[in-house]
Symmetry: C2
Subunit: 309 residues, 2 copies
Protein backbone atom coordinates (compact mmCIF):
# COMPACT_ATOMS: atom_id res chain seq x y z
CA UNK A 1 0.00 0.00 0.00
CA UNK A 2 1.33 3.43 -0.92
CA UNK A 3 1.27 4.73 2.66
CA UNK A 4 3.51 1.80 3.62
CA UNK A 5 5.90 2.63 0.81
CA UNK A 6 6.09 6.20 2.16
CA UNK A 7 6.58 5.07 5.77
CA UNK A 8 9.09 2.37 4.82
CA UNK A 9 11.13 4.92 2.87
CA UNK A 10 10.96 7.35 5.80
CA UNK A 11 12.29 4.59 8.07
CA UNK A 12 14.95 3.39 5.64
CA UNK A 13 16.27 6.91 5.02
CA UNK A 14 15.63 7.90 8.66
CA UNK A 15 14.14 11.07 7.29
CA UNK A 16 10.52 12.19 7.78
CA UNK A 17 10.78 15.05 5.31
CA UNK A 18 9.59 15.88 1.84
CA UNK A 19 11.11 18.38 -0.55
CA UNK A 20 8.58 20.80 -2.01
CA UNK A 21 9.29 21.31 -5.70
CA UNK A 22 7.74 24.78 -6.01
CA UNK A 23 10.02 26.44 -8.52
CA UNK A 24 9.97 30.17 -9.22
CA UNK A 25 12.08 31.80 -11.87
CA UNK A 26 13.99 33.77 -9.26
CA UNK A 27 15.04 30.51 -7.56
CA UNK A 28 16.42 29.11 -10.82
CA UNK A 29 20.12 29.87 -11.38
CA UNK A 30 20.88 32.12 -14.35
CA UNK A 31 22.81 29.49 -16.28
CA UNK A 32 19.80 27.12 -16.26
CA UNK A 33 17.43 29.87 -17.35
CA UNK A 34 19.74 30.97 -20.16
CA UNK A 35 20.04 27.42 -21.45
CA UNK A 36 16.24 26.99 -21.46
CA UNK A 37 15.59 30.40 -23.01
CA UNK A 38 18.17 29.67 -25.72
CA UNK A 39 16.17 26.60 -26.73
CA UNK A 40 12.62 27.88 -26.23
CA UNK A 41 12.78 31.67 -25.97
CA UNK A 42 11.84 33.92 -23.08
CA UNK A 43 8.42 32.32 -23.11
CA UNK A 44 6.10 30.17 -21.05
CA UNK A 45 7.71 27.15 -22.70
CA UNK A 46 11.16 28.48 -21.87
CA UNK A 47 10.23 29.02 -18.24
CA UNK A 48 8.70 25.53 -18.05
CA UNK A 49 11.88 24.02 -19.50
CA UNK A 50 13.92 25.93 -16.90
CA UNK A 51 11.72 24.54 -14.11
CA UNK A 52 12.10 20.98 -15.32
CA UNK A 53 15.85 21.26 -15.67
CA UNK A 54 16.09 22.86 -12.21
CA UNK A 55 13.89 20.16 -10.66
CA UNK A 56 15.85 17.31 -12.21
CA UNK A 57 19.09 18.55 -10.66
CA UNK A 58 17.43 19.04 -7.28
CA UNK A 59 15.94 15.54 -7.48
CA UNK A 60 19.30 14.04 -8.44
CA UNK A 61 20.88 15.77 -5.44
CA UNK A 62 18.38 14.62 -2.81
CA UNK A 63 16.91 11.34 -4.11
CA UNK A 64 19.07 9.12 -1.90
CA UNK A 65 18.33 11.02 1.30
CA UNK A 66 14.63 12.04 1.18
CA UNK A 67 11.66 9.71 0.86
CA UNK A 68 9.37 11.99 -1.13
CA UNK A 69 8.93 15.16 -3.16
CA UNK A 70 5.89 17.42 -3.33
CA UNK A 71 5.50 19.47 -6.50
CA UNK A 72 3.03 22.33 -6.04
CA UNK A 73 1.00 22.37 -9.26
CA UNK A 74 0.17 26.10 -9.02
CA UNK A 75 3.76 27.01 -9.88
CA UNK A 76 3.48 25.01 -13.11
CA UNK A 77 -0.16 25.75 -13.94
CA UNK A 78 0.81 29.43 -13.80
CA UNK A 79 2.68 28.77 -17.07
CA UNK A 80 -0.30 27.15 -18.78
CA UNK A 81 -0.11 23.91 -20.77
CA UNK A 82 3.70 24.00 -21.00
CA UNK A 83 3.88 24.31 -17.24
CA UNK A 84 1.52 21.39 -16.75
CA UNK A 85 3.69 19.30 -19.07
CA UNK A 86 6.73 20.20 -16.92
CA UNK A 87 4.77 19.21 -13.80
CA UNK A 88 4.05 15.80 -15.30
CA UNK A 89 7.66 15.38 -16.47
CA UNK A 90 8.82 16.27 -12.94
CA UNK A 91 6.57 13.58 -11.47
CA UNK A 92 7.86 10.97 -13.90
CA UNK A 93 11.46 11.92 -13.26
CA UNK A 94 11.02 11.72 -9.48
CA UNK A 95 9.27 8.35 -9.73
CA UNK A 96 12.14 7.10 -11.87
CA UNK A 97 14.36 7.85 -8.87
CA UNK A 98 12.04 5.81 -6.63
CA UNK A 99 10.76 8.87 -4.78
CA UNK A 100 7.18 8.98 -3.51
CA UNK A 101 5.42 11.87 -5.24
CA UNK A 102 2.82 13.98 -3.46
CA UNK A 103 1.01 16.24 -5.91
CA UNK A 104 -0.03 19.38 -4.06
CA UNK A 105 -3.13 20.15 -6.10
CA UNK A 106 -5.74 20.89 -3.38
CA UNK A 107 -8.59 20.06 -5.76
CA UNK A 108 -12.16 20.02 -4.51
CA UNK A 109 -15.40 19.89 -6.48
CA UNK A 110 -18.77 18.12 -6.68
CA UNK A 111 -18.51 14.36 -7.15
CA UNK A 112 -18.89 14.17 -10.95
CA UNK A 113 -16.18 16.82 -11.36
CA UNK A 114 -13.99 15.37 -8.61
CA UNK A 115 -14.12 12.13 -10.59
CA UNK A 116 -12.55 13.94 -13.56
CA UNK A 117 -9.74 15.30 -11.38
CA UNK A 118 -9.27 11.88 -9.84
CA UNK A 119 -9.18 10.12 -13.22
CA UNK A 120 -6.44 12.45 -14.38
CA UNK A 121 -4.34 12.63 -11.24
CA UNK A 122 -4.52 9.23 -9.55
CA UNK A 123 -6.88 7.11 -11.67
CA UNK A 124 -7.17 6.27 -15.34
CA UNK A 125 -8.57 8.09 -18.36
CA UNK A 126 -10.36 6.01 -20.98
CA UNK A 127 -10.41 7.17 -24.57
CA UNK A 128 -12.37 4.94 -26.88
CA UNK A 129 -11.31 1.74 -25.15
CA UNK A 130 -7.70 2.79 -24.56
CA UNK A 131 -6.59 3.50 -21.00
CA UNK A 132 -4.18 6.27 -20.04
CA UNK A 133 -2.46 7.35 -16.85
CA UNK A 134 -2.02 11.11 -17.01
CA UNK A 135 -0.49 12.81 -13.95
CA UNK A 136 0.10 9.67 -11.91
CA UNK A 137 1.11 11.17 -8.58
CA UNK A 138 1.28 8.70 -5.67
CA UNK A 139 -0.68 11.02 -3.40
CA UNK A 140 -2.57 14.24 -4.01
CA UNK A 141 -3.91 16.85 -1.61
CA UNK A 142 -7.66 17.59 -1.67
CA UNK A 143 -9.98 20.22 -0.17
CA UNK A 144 -12.88 19.12 2.11
CA UNK A 145 -15.13 22.23 1.96
CA UNK A 146 -17.67 20.50 -0.31
CA UNK A 147 -18.20 17.57 2.08
CA UNK A 148 -17.75 13.82 2.04
CA UNK A 149 -19.38 13.06 -1.32
CA UNK A 150 -16.80 15.31 -3.00
CA UNK A 151 -14.02 13.11 -1.58
CA UNK A 152 -15.48 9.73 -2.55
CA UNK A 153 -14.18 9.61 -6.15
CA UNK A 154 -10.60 10.08 -4.93
CA UNK A 155 -10.97 7.44 -2.25
CA UNK A 156 -12.37 4.94 -4.73
CA UNK A 157 -9.36 5.50 -6.97
CA UNK A 158 -7.04 5.19 -3.97
CA UNK A 159 -8.47 1.72 -3.37
CA UNK A 160 -8.44 0.75 -7.00
CA UNK A 161 -5.01 2.01 -8.00
CA UNK A 162 -3.15 1.99 -4.65
CA UNK A 163 -2.93 5.76 -4.34
CA UNK A 164 -3.37 8.12 -1.42
CA UNK A 165 -4.78 11.54 -0.56
CA UNK A 166 -4.04 14.12 2.09
CA UNK A 167 -7.19 16.03 2.97
CA UNK A 168 -6.72 19.65 4.09
CA UNK A 169 -7.63 19.72 7.78
CA UNK A 170 -5.69 22.58 9.36
CA UNK A 171 -3.62 24.62 6.95
CA UNK A 172 -0.40 26.48 7.74
CA UNK A 173 -1.33 30.00 6.63
CA UNK A 174 -1.82 32.83 9.17
CA UNK A 175 -5.59 33.21 8.64
CA UNK A 176 -6.40 29.48 8.39
CA UNK A 177 -8.39 29.85 11.61
CA UNK A 178 -10.91 32.24 10.08
CA UNK A 179 -12.96 29.25 8.93
CA UNK A 180 -11.08 26.24 10.26
CA UNK A 181 -11.07 27.32 13.93
CA UNK A 182 -14.74 28.32 14.16
CA UNK A 183 -16.35 26.55 17.12
CA UNK A 184 -19.35 24.36 16.24
CA UNK A 185 -22.35 24.16 18.55
CA UNK A 186 -21.94 21.12 20.87
CA UNK A 187 -18.79 20.04 19.02
CA UNK A 188 -15.19 21.12 18.61
CA UNK A 189 -13.84 23.47 15.98
CA UNK A 190 -14.31 22.99 12.23
CA UNK A 191 -10.81 21.56 11.79
CA UNK A 192 -11.55 18.90 14.41
CA UNK A 193 -14.82 18.04 12.70
CA UNK A 194 -13.00 17.72 9.39
CA UNK A 195 -10.38 15.64 11.19
CA UNK A 196 -13.06 13.26 12.41
CA UNK A 197 -14.52 12.95 8.91
CA UNK A 198 -11.07 12.13 7.53
CA UNK A 199 -10.51 9.70 10.39
CA UNK A 200 -13.73 7.91 9.47
CA UNK A 201 -12.79 7.75 5.79
CA UNK A 202 -9.31 6.51 6.60
CA UNK A 203 -10.43 3.22 8.17
CA UNK A 204 -10.50 1.12 5.07
CA UNK A 205 -7.11 1.93 3.61
CA UNK A 206 -4.95 1.11 6.61
CA UNK A 207 -1.59 -0.48 5.85
CA UNK A 208 0.81 -2.70 7.77
CA UNK A 209 2.29 0.25 9.65
CA UNK A 210 -1.08 1.14 11.18
CA UNK A 211 -1.61 4.25 9.05
CA UNK A 212 -4.03 4.86 6.23
CA UNK A 213 -3.45 6.02 2.66
CA UNK A 214 -6.12 8.64 3.48
CA UNK A 215 -4.07 11.26 5.32
CA UNK A 216 -4.43 14.84 6.49
CA UNK A 217 -2.69 18.15 5.87
CA UNK A 218 -1.87 19.69 9.25
CA UNK A 219 0.21 22.88 9.32
CA UNK A 220 3.41 23.13 11.37
CA UNK A 221 2.51 26.68 12.33
CA UNK A 222 -0.42 25.84 14.62
CA UNK A 223 1.03 23.63 17.35
CA UNK A 224 -2.02 23.47 19.61
CA UNK A 225 -4.33 22.32 16.82
CA UNK A 226 -1.79 19.81 15.53
CA UNK A 227 -1.46 18.33 19.00
CA UNK A 228 -5.22 17.89 19.27
CA UNK A 229 -5.48 16.36 15.82
CA UNK A 230 -2.67 13.87 16.50
CA UNK A 231 -4.75 12.64 19.46
CA UNK A 232 -8.14 12.41 17.73
CA UNK A 233 -6.96 10.79 14.48
CA UNK A 234 -4.35 8.19 15.50
CA UNK A 235 -4.31 6.20 12.25
CA UNK A 236 -4.18 9.25 9.99
CA UNK A 237 -0.78 10.16 8.59
CA UNK A 238 0.02 13.89 8.48
CA UNK A 239 1.52 15.91 5.67
CA UNK A 240 2.94 18.93 7.49
CA UNK A 241 3.57 22.15 5.54
CA UNK A 242 4.74 25.43 7.02
CA UNK A 243 8.14 24.33 8.31
CA UNK A 244 10.95 26.84 7.85
CA UNK A 245 10.05 29.74 5.57
CA UNK A 246 6.47 29.90 6.89
CA UNK A 247 7.60 29.96 10.53
CA UNK A 248 7.04 26.42 11.87
CA UNK A 249 9.96 25.21 14.02
CA UNK A 250 11.22 21.66 14.52
CA UNK A 251 9.68 21.79 18.01
CA UNK A 252 6.31 22.78 16.56
CA UNK A 253 6.26 19.76 14.31
CA UNK A 254 7.29 17.28 17.01
CA UNK A 255 3.66 17.12 18.19
CA UNK A 256 2.62 15.69 14.81
CA UNK A 257 4.52 12.47 15.48
CA UNK A 258 3.76 9.49 17.71
CA UNK A 259 6.14 8.36 20.43
CA UNK A 260 7.84 5.99 18.00
CA UNK A 261 8.76 8.94 15.77
CA UNK A 262 6.30 7.96 13.01
CA UNK A 263 3.09 9.70 11.95
CA UNK A 264 4.03 12.61 9.74
CA UNK A 265 6.10 13.83 6.85
CA UNK A 266 7.25 17.45 6.96
CA UNK A 267 7.55 19.61 3.87
CA UNK A 268 10.08 22.30 3.11
CA UNK A 269 10.13 23.98 -0.29
CA UNK A 270 12.02 27.23 -0.58
CA UNK A 271 14.26 26.33 2.39
CA UNK A 272 15.65 23.42 0.38
CA UNK A 273 15.35 24.25 -3.31
CA UNK A 274 16.49 27.85 -2.92
CA UNK A 275 18.98 27.12 -0.14
CA UNK A 276 21.85 28.65 -2.14
CA UNK A 277 20.12 32.03 -1.80
CA UNK A 278 20.22 31.70 1.99
CA UNK A 279 23.20 33.23 3.81
CA UNK A 280 23.88 29.90 5.52
CA UNK A 281 24.51 28.10 2.23
CA UNK A 282 25.67 30.95 0.01
CA UNK A 283 29.20 29.51 -0.19
CA UNK A 284 27.82 26.88 -2.59
CA UNK A 285 27.16 29.64 -5.11
CA UNK A 286 24.73 29.54 -8.01
CA UNK A 287 26.44 26.65 -9.75
CA UNK A 288 26.34 24.67 -6.50
CA UNK A 289 22.58 25.18 -5.99
CA UNK A 290 21.83 21.44 -6.06
CA UNK A 291 24.57 20.65 -3.53
CA UNK A 292 23.25 23.50 -1.36
CA UNK A 293 19.80 21.88 -1.55
CA UNK A 294 21.28 18.54 -0.50
CA UNK A 295 23.10 20.14 2.43
CA UNK A 296 19.91 21.95 3.52
CA UNK A 297 17.94 18.69 3.23
CA UNK A 298 20.48 16.91 5.46
CA UNK A 299 20.35 19.75 7.99
CA UNK A 300 16.55 19.61 7.99
CA UNK A 301 16.59 15.86 8.50
CA UNK A 302 18.92 16.24 11.47
CA UNK A 303 16.80 19.00 13.00
CA UNK A 304 13.64 16.93 12.62
CA UNK A 305 15.17 13.73 13.98
CA UNK A 306 16.52 15.62 17.00
CA UNK A 307 13.17 17.34 17.62
CA UNK A 308 11.16 14.11 17.38
CA UNK A 309 13.42 12.38 19.92
Amino acid sequence: MIIDKLIDEIKRKENPSVVGLDPRLDFVPGFIKEEAFKSYGRSLKGAAAAFLSFNKRIIDAVADIVPAVKPQIAMYERLGADGVAAYIDTINYAKGKNLVVIGDVKRGDVASTAKAYSDGHIGRVRIDGEEFTVFNEDFITVNPYLGGDSLTPYIEDCEKYDKGVFVLVKTSNPMSGQIQDLPIVDKGEIYQEVGLIVSGLSCKLTGKNGFSSIGAVVGATHREQAEKLRRIMPSVFFLVPGYGAQGGSAEDIAVCFNDDGIGAVVNSSRGIIAAYKNEKYEAFGETGFAEAARRAAIDMKEELVAAIK
Copy 2:
Protein backbone atom coordinates in the same frame (compact mmCIF):
# COMPACT_ATOMS: atom_id res chain seq x y z
CA MET B 1 -15.99 46.68 -14.50
CA ILE B 2 -16.31 43.01 -15.43
CA ILE B 3 -19.39 42.46 -13.23
CA ASP B 4 -21.10 45.25 -15.16
CA LYS B 5 -20.20 43.63 -18.45
CA LEU B 6 -21.77 40.40 -17.21
CA ILE B 7 -24.92 42.13 -15.92
CA ASP B 8 -25.25 44.33 -19.01
CA GLU B 9 -25.03 41.25 -21.24
CA ILE B 10 -27.61 39.47 -19.07
CA LYS B 11 -29.94 42.44 -19.51
CA ARG B 12 -29.28 42.86 -23.22
CA LYS B 13 -29.86 39.18 -23.96
CA GLU B 14 -32.61 39.00 -21.31
CA ASN B 15 -30.97 35.79 -20.18
CA PRO B 16 -29.49 35.17 -16.72
CA SER B 17 -27.90 31.88 -17.68
CA VAL B 18 -24.44 30.53 -18.39
CA VAL B 19 -23.58 27.47 -20.43
CA GLY B 20 -21.22 25.10 -18.64
CA LEU B 21 -18.61 23.82 -21.08
CA ASP B 22 -17.85 20.55 -19.30
CA PRO B 23 -17.21 18.20 -22.19
CA ARG B 24 -17.00 14.45 -21.79
CA LEU B 25 -16.14 12.11 -24.63
CA ASP B 26 -19.57 10.50 -24.45
CA PHE B 27 -21.20 13.90 -25.04
CA VAL B 28 -19.12 14.49 -28.19
CA PRO B 29 -20.79 13.22 -31.39
CA GLY B 30 -19.00 10.39 -33.15
CA PHE B 31 -18.19 12.39 -36.28
CA ILE B 32 -16.31 15.02 -34.26
CA LYS B 33 -14.38 12.39 -32.33
CA GLU B 34 -13.44 10.52 -35.51
CA GLU B 35 -12.17 13.71 -37.13
CA ALA B 36 -10.04 14.53 -34.08
CA PHE B 37 -8.74 10.97 -33.71
CA LYS B 38 -7.81 10.89 -37.40
CA SER B 39 -5.58 13.92 -36.88
CA TYR B 40 -4.16 13.13 -33.44
CA GLY B 41 -4.86 9.46 -32.71
CA ARG B 42 -6.98 7.92 -29.95
CA SER B 43 -4.88 9.83 -27.47
CA LEU B 44 -5.08 12.57 -24.87
CA LYS B 45 -4.28 15.03 -27.66
CA GLY B 46 -7.03 13.54 -29.83
CA ALA B 47 -9.57 13.80 -27.02
CA ALA B 48 -8.52 17.40 -26.32
CA ALA B 49 -8.94 18.26 -30.02
CA ALA B 50 -12.40 16.68 -29.95
CA PHE B 51 -13.35 18.79 -26.91
CA LEU B 52 -12.18 22.00 -28.56
CA SER B 53 -14.01 21.27 -31.80
CA PHE B 54 -17.17 20.35 -29.85
CA ASN B 55 -16.94 23.50 -27.72
CA LYS B 56 -16.47 25.78 -30.73
CA ARG B 57 -19.66 24.55 -32.34
CA ILE B 58 -21.59 24.88 -29.08
CA ILE B 59 -20.22 28.39 -28.62
CA ASP B 60 -21.15 29.34 -32.21
CA ALA B 61 -24.68 28.06 -31.59
CA VAL B 62 -25.34 29.94 -28.34
CA ALA B 63 -23.12 33.05 -28.46
CA ASP B 64 -25.92 35.40 -29.50
CA ILE B 65 -28.34 34.24 -26.82
CA VAL B 66 -26.31 33.59 -23.65
CA PRO B 67 -24.15 36.14 -21.81
CA ALA B 68 -21.49 33.77 -20.54
CA VAL B 69 -19.88 30.33 -20.63
CA LYS B 70 -18.28 28.43 -17.78
CA PRO B 71 -15.67 25.86 -18.74
CA GLN B 72 -14.98 23.41 -15.91
CA ILE B 73 -11.19 22.97 -15.91
CA ALA B 74 -11.34 19.47 -14.39
CA MET B 75 -12.69 18.04 -17.64
CA TYR B 76 -9.66 19.39 -19.51
CA GLU B 77 -7.03 18.90 -16.80
CA ARG B 78 -8.07 15.22 -16.83
CA LEU B 79 -6.34 15.06 -20.22
CA GLY B 80 -3.10 16.61 -18.97
CA ALA B 81 -1.23 19.37 -20.80
CA ASP B 82 -3.16 18.86 -24.07
CA GLY B 83 -6.40 19.25 -22.17
CA VAL B 84 -5.19 22.44 -20.51
CA ALA B 85 -4.26 23.80 -23.95
CA ALA B 86 -7.83 23.02 -25.14
CA TYR B 87 -9.20 24.78 -22.05
CA ILE B 88 -7.21 27.91 -22.90
CA ASP B 89 -8.20 27.71 -26.58
CA THR B 90 -11.85 27.40 -25.52
CA ILE B 91 -11.54 30.54 -23.39
CA ASN B 92 -9.99 32.48 -26.24
CA TYR B 93 -12.61 31.31 -28.70
CA ALA B 94 -15.46 32.27 -26.37
CA LYS B 95 -13.94 35.68 -25.70
CA GLY B 96 -13.63 36.19 -29.44
CA LYS B 97 -17.42 35.81 -29.54
CA ASN B 98 -17.77 38.47 -26.84
CA LEU B 99 -18.91 35.97 -24.20
CA VAL B 100 -17.99 36.48 -20.56
CA VAL B 101 -15.87 33.51 -19.46
CA ILE B 102 -16.13 32.09 -15.96
CA GLY B 103 -13.34 29.59 -15.33
CA ASP B 104 -14.61 27.01 -12.89
CA VAL B 105 -11.30 26.17 -11.26
CA LYS B 106 -12.18 26.25 -7.53
CA ARG B 107 -8.55 26.89 -6.59
CA GLY B 108 -7.60 27.53 -2.99
CA ASP B 109 -4.16 27.63 -1.37
CA VAL B 110 -1.95 29.66 0.95
CA ALA B 111 -1.32 33.22 -0.23
CA SER B 112 2.05 32.72 -1.95
CA THR B 113 0.62 29.77 -3.90
CA ALA B 114 -2.72 31.49 -4.55
CA LYS B 115 -0.66 34.28 -6.10
CA ALA B 116 0.73 31.78 -8.63
CA TYR B 117 -2.79 30.59 -9.53
CA SER B 118 -3.95 34.16 -9.76
CA ASP B 119 -1.02 35.23 -11.97
CA GLY B 120 -1.83 32.44 -14.40
CA HIS B 121 -5.60 32.66 -14.43
CA ILE B 122 -6.53 36.32 -14.03
CA GLY B 123 -3.26 38.22 -13.62
CA ARG B 124 0.02 38.37 -15.49
CA VAL B 125 3.10 36.16 -15.59
CA ARG B 126 6.46 37.86 -15.88
CA ILE B 127 9.36 36.04 -17.51
CA ASP B 128 12.59 37.97 -17.53
CA GLY B 129 10.91 41.32 -18.12
CA GLU B 130 8.30 40.03 -20.60
CA GLU B 131 4.68 39.91 -19.49
CA PHE B 132 2.25 37.14 -20.46
CA THR B 133 -1.45 36.54 -19.98
CA VAL B 134 -1.97 32.79 -19.70
CA PHE B 135 -5.52 31.56 -19.02
CA ASN B 136 -7.19 34.96 -19.03
CA GLU B 137 -10.68 34.02 -17.82
CA ASP B 138 -12.91 36.98 -16.88
CA PHE B 139 -13.94 35.35 -13.62
CA ILE B 140 -12.71 32.29 -11.75
CA THR B 141 -14.23 30.34 -8.87
CA VAL B 142 -12.19 29.99 -5.67
CA ASN B 143 -12.42 27.97 -2.45
CA PRO B 144 -12.58 29.77 0.93
CA TYR B 145 -11.52 26.95 3.31
CA LEU B 146 -8.07 28.46 3.87
CA GLY B 147 -9.43 31.83 5.02
CA GLY B 148 -9.27 35.44 3.89
CA ASP B 149 -5.51 35.69 3.33
CA SER B 150 -5.78 32.93 0.74
CA LEU B 151 -8.27 35.06 -1.24
CA THR B 152 -6.30 38.32 -1.17
CA PRO B 153 -4.04 37.61 -4.19
CA TYR B 154 -7.09 37.02 -6.41
CA ILE B 155 -8.83 40.15 -5.19
CA GLU B 156 -5.73 42.24 -5.82
CA ASP B 157 -5.60 40.96 -9.39
CA CYS B 158 -9.34 41.60 -9.79
CA GLU B 159 -8.68 45.24 -8.94
CA LYS B 160 -5.59 45.49 -11.08
CA TYR B 161 -6.81 43.72 -14.21
CA ASP B 162 -10.60 44.18 -13.97
CA LYS B 163 -11.36 40.53 -13.26
CA GLY B 164 -13.79 38.83 -10.91
CA VAL B 165 -14.08 35.81 -8.63
CA PHE B 166 -16.94 33.73 -7.34
CA VAL B 167 -16.10 32.36 -3.90
CA LEU B 168 -17.68 29.00 -2.99
CA VAL B 169 -20.21 29.73 -0.27
CA LYS B 170 -22.91 27.04 -0.49
CA THR B 171 -22.26 24.37 -3.10
CA SER B 172 -24.89 22.37 -4.97
CA ASN B 173 -23.82 18.82 -4.12
CA PRO B 174 -25.94 16.61 -1.82
CA MET B 175 -23.45 16.52 1.07
CA SER B 176 -22.42 20.19 0.91
CA GLY B 177 -24.02 20.66 4.33
CA GLN B 178 -21.60 18.30 6.06
CA ILE B 179 -19.21 21.22 6.57
CA GLN B 180 -21.04 24.22 5.14
CA ASP B 181 -24.19 23.88 7.28
CA LEU B 182 -22.45 23.32 10.61
CA PRO B 183 -23.81 25.80 13.18
CA ILE B 184 -21.23 28.07 14.77
CA VAL B 185 -21.44 29.03 18.44
CA ASP B 186 -23.25 32.39 18.75
CA LYS B 187 -23.38 32.77 14.96
CA GLY B 188 -25.13 31.26 11.95
CA GLU B 189 -23.96 28.31 9.92
CA ILE B 190 -20.56 28.12 8.23
CA TYR B 191 -21.97 29.05 4.82
CA GLN B 192 -23.43 32.24 6.31
CA GLU B 193 -20.14 33.09 7.95
CA VAL B 194 -18.37 32.56 4.62
CA GLY B 195 -21.10 34.66 3.01
CA LEU B 196 -20.37 37.50 5.41
CA ILE B 197 -16.66 37.28 4.71
CA VAL B 198 -17.33 37.45 0.96
CA SER B 199 -19.75 40.32 1.53
CA GLY B 200 -17.03 42.22 3.37
CA LEU B 201 -14.50 41.57 0.61
CA SER B 202 -16.97 42.58 -2.08
CA CYS B 203 -17.30 46.20 -0.95
CA LYS B 204 -14.48 47.66 -2.93
CA LEU B 205 -15.23 46.25 -6.35
CA THR B 206 -18.83 47.40 -6.71
CA GLY B 207 -19.89 48.46 -10.18
CA LYS B 208 -22.57 50.74 -11.58
CA ASN B 209 -25.25 48.04 -11.25
CA GLY B 210 -24.75 47.82 -7.48
CA PHE B 211 -23.02 44.44 -7.56
CA SER B 212 -19.40 43.57 -6.94
CA SER B 213 -16.91 41.67 -9.10
CA ILE B 214 -16.37 39.56 -5.95
CA GLY B 215 -19.30 37.14 -6.16
CA ALA B 216 -20.43 33.91 -4.55
CA VAL B 217 -21.23 30.38 -5.68
CA VAL B 218 -24.64 29.44 -4.26
CA GLY B 219 -26.17 26.12 -5.33
CA ALA B 220 -29.66 25.93 -6.84
CA THR B 221 -30.32 22.76 -4.89
CA HIS B 222 -30.51 24.33 -1.42
CA ARG B 223 -33.33 26.86 -1.58
CA GLU B 224 -33.49 27.78 2.10
CA GLN B 225 -29.79 28.59 2.29
CA ALA B 226 -29.88 30.53 -0.98
CA GLU B 227 -32.76 32.61 0.31
CA LYS B 228 -30.86 33.49 3.48
CA LEU B 229 -27.72 34.34 1.55
CA ARG B 230 -29.58 36.62 -0.89
CA ARG B 231 -30.73 38.59 2.18
CA ILE B 232 -27.40 38.84 4.01
CA MET B 233 -25.23 39.67 1.00
CA PRO B 234 -27.22 42.13 -1.12
CA SER B 235 -24.36 43.43 -3.27
CA VAL B 236 -22.88 40.02 -3.99
CA PHE B 237 -23.73 38.50 -7.36
CA PHE B 238 -24.44 34.75 -7.36
CA LEU B 239 -23.16 32.08 -9.69
CA VAL B 240 -25.75 29.33 -9.31
CA PRO B 241 -24.84 25.76 -10.25
CA GLY B 242 -27.04 22.71 -9.80
CA TYR B 243 -29.88 23.69 -12.13
CA GLY B 244 -31.29 20.85 -14.22
CA ALA B 245 -29.20 17.68 -14.12
CA GLN B 246 -28.33 18.16 -10.43
CA GLY B 247 -31.97 18.68 -9.42
CA GLY B 248 -32.42 22.43 -8.93
CA SER B 249 -35.68 23.72 -10.46
CA ALA B 250 -36.43 27.15 -11.91
CA GLU B 251 -38.47 27.86 -8.78
CA ASP B 252 -35.51 26.95 -6.57
CA ILE B 253 -33.32 29.49 -8.29
CA ALA B 254 -35.87 32.30 -8.18
CA VAL B 255 -34.83 33.08 -4.59
CA CYS B 256 -31.31 33.94 -5.81
CA PHE B 257 -32.59 37.00 -7.65
CA ASN B 258 -33.69 40.41 -6.40
CA ASP B 259 -37.13 41.81 -7.13
CA ASP B 260 -35.82 43.47 -10.27
CA GLY B 261 -34.78 40.06 -11.66
CA ILE B 262 -31.04 40.74 -11.28
CA GLY B 263 -28.60 39.17 -8.85
CA ALA B 264 -27.58 35.82 -10.25
CA VAL B 265 -26.45 33.85 -13.26
CA VAL B 266 -27.55 30.23 -13.45
CA ASN B 267 -25.39 27.49 -14.93
CA SER B 268 -26.43 24.46 -16.88
CA SER B 269 -23.83 22.18 -18.39
CA ARG B 270 -24.96 18.73 -19.49
CA GLY B 271 -28.57 19.95 -19.94
CA ILE B 272 -27.37 22.25 -22.72
CA ILE B 273 -24.23 20.78 -24.27
CA ALA B 274 -25.57 17.20 -24.30
CA ALA B 275 -29.18 18.21 -25.04
CA TYR B 276 -29.27 16.02 -28.16
CA LYS B 277 -28.92 12.98 -25.88
CA ASN B 278 -32.07 14.01 -24.03
CA GLU B 279 -35.38 12.55 -25.24
CA LYS B 280 -36.82 16.05 -25.54
CA TYR B 281 -34.27 17.11 -28.15
CA GLU B 282 -33.36 13.79 -29.74
CA ALA B 283 -35.01 14.77 -33.04
CA PHE B 284 -31.99 17.03 -33.65
CA GLY B 285 -29.84 13.91 -33.91
CA GLU B 286 -26.09 13.72 -33.46
CA THR B 287 -25.31 16.04 -36.36
CA GLY B 288 -27.73 18.59 -34.93
CA PHE B 289 -26.12 18.59 -31.46
CA ALA B 290 -25.28 22.30 -31.61
CA GLU B 291 -28.82 23.27 -32.69
CA ALA B 292 -30.16 21.06 -29.89
CA ALA B 293 -27.93 22.96 -27.46
CA ARG B 294 -29.27 26.26 -28.79
CA ARG B 295 -32.87 25.07 -28.42
CA ALA B 296 -32.18 23.84 -24.86
CA ALA B 297 -30.52 27.17 -24.02
CA ILE B 298 -33.58 29.07 -25.27
CA ASP B 299 -35.89 26.79 -23.27
CA MET B 300 -33.78 27.33 -20.16
CA LYS B 301 -33.83 31.09 -20.66
CA GLU B 302 -37.62 31.04 -20.94
CA GLU B 303 -37.98 28.87 -17.84
CA LEU B 304 -35.70 31.15 -15.84
CA VAL B 305 -37.34 34.36 -16.99
CA ALA B 306 -40.78 32.94 -16.14
CA ALA B 307 -39.64 31.75 -12.72
CA ILE B 308 -37.98 35.05 -11.81
CA LYS B 309 -41.15 37.02 -12.66
